[in-house]
């Protein structure tokens, strides 16, 4: 797709995404984090004993682990001021019409029902802590595809769930995976049976509405041998003066010969801390692709990773980050080559504007068995002014022989010549800069379904006009 139609910006973030509806909930846990809150969440969800134990154990791990200091500045997060669980509706709907009016209005405004009608095979919508809407095309259900929220999966598919949950990202992996495992709620659960190809995307839409809310969704995707699925998630929140926390964990298992693509278009408001752990295990000849677009948020720390476990496994990360005033996007990717003949690429594109800061942080690890493996990392940063900042932190550990590892990094500014050329055709400076930025991220945009590409370009346009946040 070479061109994206130009979209009108009649509204700004505040109108389109930044609105909020009054809180109306059936259950809201008290502020703060302690074993009682964790027990309460588990009790509300009527969970089996093993899950409660795992949650409590994870809470202990979270408390013991020090705050990571190697990346963005997280010292400002006040964990005691956050609501860890909020249930806005006491039932899950399969029809938009059945949603409580406030929630329905929210998703209508965000255009989600329309998107479902147009081009999605299944939709899940999470509001605060719980998934409130869910649908999947009948043909896919008949083929044995499971697409549900993670809480229902624990209840309805307990064996499958227990076999994989926490195996890709154990609670002790890092402080925030421990936190997520302690208080997780909602998220998507997908199982694609052997040989089944889900040709149109499945989508989940995550929305934080309440102030000081913590959203801790937990996503688990299992692609059985030879299967294919493309999963897309979108995230937004209103603009409050106080902070919210989004700390998700996404675990993916891609079995022999299967392919999974996971696309994120995250557009949090600029008071959200976004600290997400995403990891996939790719087995023989399997392909895992992370397509990760990070706009908004105050701080994002996210490094999707692929463990290339068996020969022929392939991993890709394609990410875009946009940091405006007061924002720090610390993003990148990790490729862990465990087996021979595995390949990986990381392509990172970042844009900094108005004093915003982007960092690329990447890790390529090649274990001794990973001979004849290849990895290529390319990071390009575009700075829109002199106050903005971009850094690159690549870490490479190679313990294998006969491997190829490439790294390319560029930092550029919007060139005067490009601006002059576009402006000499009557295009305003702001629009010319937006075009250059959209052109810069085009390798990313072209990987998105058209509707998302249009939306992303529109979001970039909003960011460029400085009307966001």
């Amino acid at each position: 797709m070479a061109t994206v139609p130009k979209v009108d910006v009649g509204t700004d973030y505040k109108e389109k995404y930044g609105f909020f509806v009054p809180e109306d909930f059936v259950f809201k846990a008290k502020r703060g984090l302690n074993p009682e809150i964790v027990k309460e969440i588990s009790w509300m969800k009527k969970e089996p004993e093993w899950m409660l134990k795992m949650r409590l154990r994870s809470l202990e791990i979270f408390r013991k682990k020090p705050m990571p200091t190697w990346g963005a500045d997280l010292s400002v997060i006040d964990f005691e001021n956050i609501f860890y669980y909020l249930k806005a509706s006491d039932k899950q709907s399969t029809s938009w019409e059945d949603l409580p009016p406030d929630i329905k209005k929210t998703y209508d405004r965000l255009g989600v029902p329309e998107a479902e009608r147009k081009f999605l095979a299944g939709v899940s919508a999470q509001y605060e802590s719980e998934v409130v809407y869910h649908s999947l095309q009948k043909e896919l259900t008949a083929k044995g595809v499971i697409f549900t929220d993670t809480d229902s999966a624990l209840r309805d598919h307990p064996e499958l769930f227990k076999e994989y949950f926490g195996t890709v990202i154990p609670p002790a992996d890092n402080k925030f995976s421990a936190l997520n495992t302690a208080v997780w709620s909602g998220g998507s659960f997908i199982y694609v049976p052997k040989g089944v190809r889900v040709e149109i995307p499945l989508q989940a839409y995550f929305r934080i509405n309440a102030e000081n809310m913590g959203q801790f969704e937990r996503t688990l995707i299992i692609c059985d041998e030879g299967s294919f699925v493309h999963y897309i998630e979108g995230c937004t929140a209103p603009i409050y003066t106080t902070d919210s926390l989004h700390s998700a964990v996404v675990e993916i298992i891609v079995k022999k010969g299967a392919r999974c693509r996971y696309t994120t278009i995250q557009n949090w408001s600029t008071n959200v801390f976004n600290l997400v752990t995403k990891r996939a295990m790719a087995y023989a000849d399997a392909t895992m692709e992370w397509v990760d677009g990070n706009l908004g948020s105050q701080i994002t720390m996210k490094y999707p990773s692929v463990y290339l476990m068996e020969p022929g496994a392939k991993g890709d990360v394609l990410s875009v980050a946009f940091a405006g005033k007061g924002q720090h996007q610390d993003a990148g990717g990790k490729m862990i080559h465990v087996a021979p003949n595995t390949t990986s690429t990381i392509t990172s594109k970042s844009i900094s504007k108005g004093g915003g800061r982007t960092s690329y942080r990447g890790h390529i690890k090649m274990y001794p068995d990973a001979k004849n493996s290849k990895s290529f990392v390319k990071c390009d940063a575009l700075l829109l002014d002199d106050e903005s900042r971009s850094d690159t932190y690549p870490y490479n550990d190679v313990d294998a022989e006969n491997v190829t590892l490439g790294h390319e990094a560029t930092v550029s500014k919007v060139s005067d010549e490009q601006l002059f050329y576009l402006m000499s055709r009557g295009i305003t400076r702001n629009e010319a800069e937006t075009m250059i930025v959209n052109g810069f991220i085009e390798p990313f945009t072209k990987e998105l379904p058209l509707e998302y590409a249009v939306e992303l370009n529109r979001l970039i346009q909003l960011e460029m006009e400085g009307s966001v946040g």
Binding site: A2, D8, G10, F420, L422, M423, S424, R425, G426, M435
Partner: protein, 261 residues
Amino acid sequence: MADFEIRDLRASVEGKEILKGVTLAINKGEVHAVMGPNGSGKSTLSHTLMGHPGYTVDGGDVIFKGQNVLALQPDERARLGMFLAFQYPVVVPGISMTNFLRTALNAKRGYDGKDKSKQVTPKEFRSLLKSELEVLHMDDSFLPRYINDGFSGGEKKRAEILQMAILKPEIAILDETDSGLDIDSIKFVAEAVNRMRGPELGVLIITHYTRILEFIKPDFVHVLVDGRFVLSGGPEVAERLEKTGYSEWGHAEELKPEEVA
């Protein structure tokens, strides 16, 4: 008063004075050629007229439609009806020519993302593009490609002329459009410009060589040497230069272009 008037224009680059007082009046319907040896200030003239930020105006006025365009941003000058065909068109990756042309046309029409009545409709745009391509005898294969990305020299210049045809300026400056082109491409560009000639268009051709003037017959020719016009006249000036080059002003350069394969 002429439609487009350059009055005593003086400009410098990085503190070095290049244009030392250029005065020129262009009416719509006229084709003017500015010729000059290397370093005479030809590209400074074209860039200054269009408002490139790297060129400093030290004095003078450029009056077009009652405004001093030197006070305007390049995009404002373009929307007023000026056009510059670049000597070295710039590559902008990731944006297709189609998208670029549409955005530029919308900008020219004053569409700012709000008043939809000013926006070119997809149907109107397609038919406009189709008819201009036909007139220019161009195929549409380069439209999905990124702006000037991987274009040959000839393709770049043709793309400039297509932009001109779509945007329909009232004052067009062609900056060394003939440089680096083979004779077929020069003929092509010249034919296209000739087709656009008419009472609504004034043209300023900036060139080192007389060759393009064999195909686009100028009404007036001005010789620029060391930042000043040293000679102005009709087409006969070009014929004189064809014979003697710039030698009478102390420049021994050849006036025959390098052979282009």
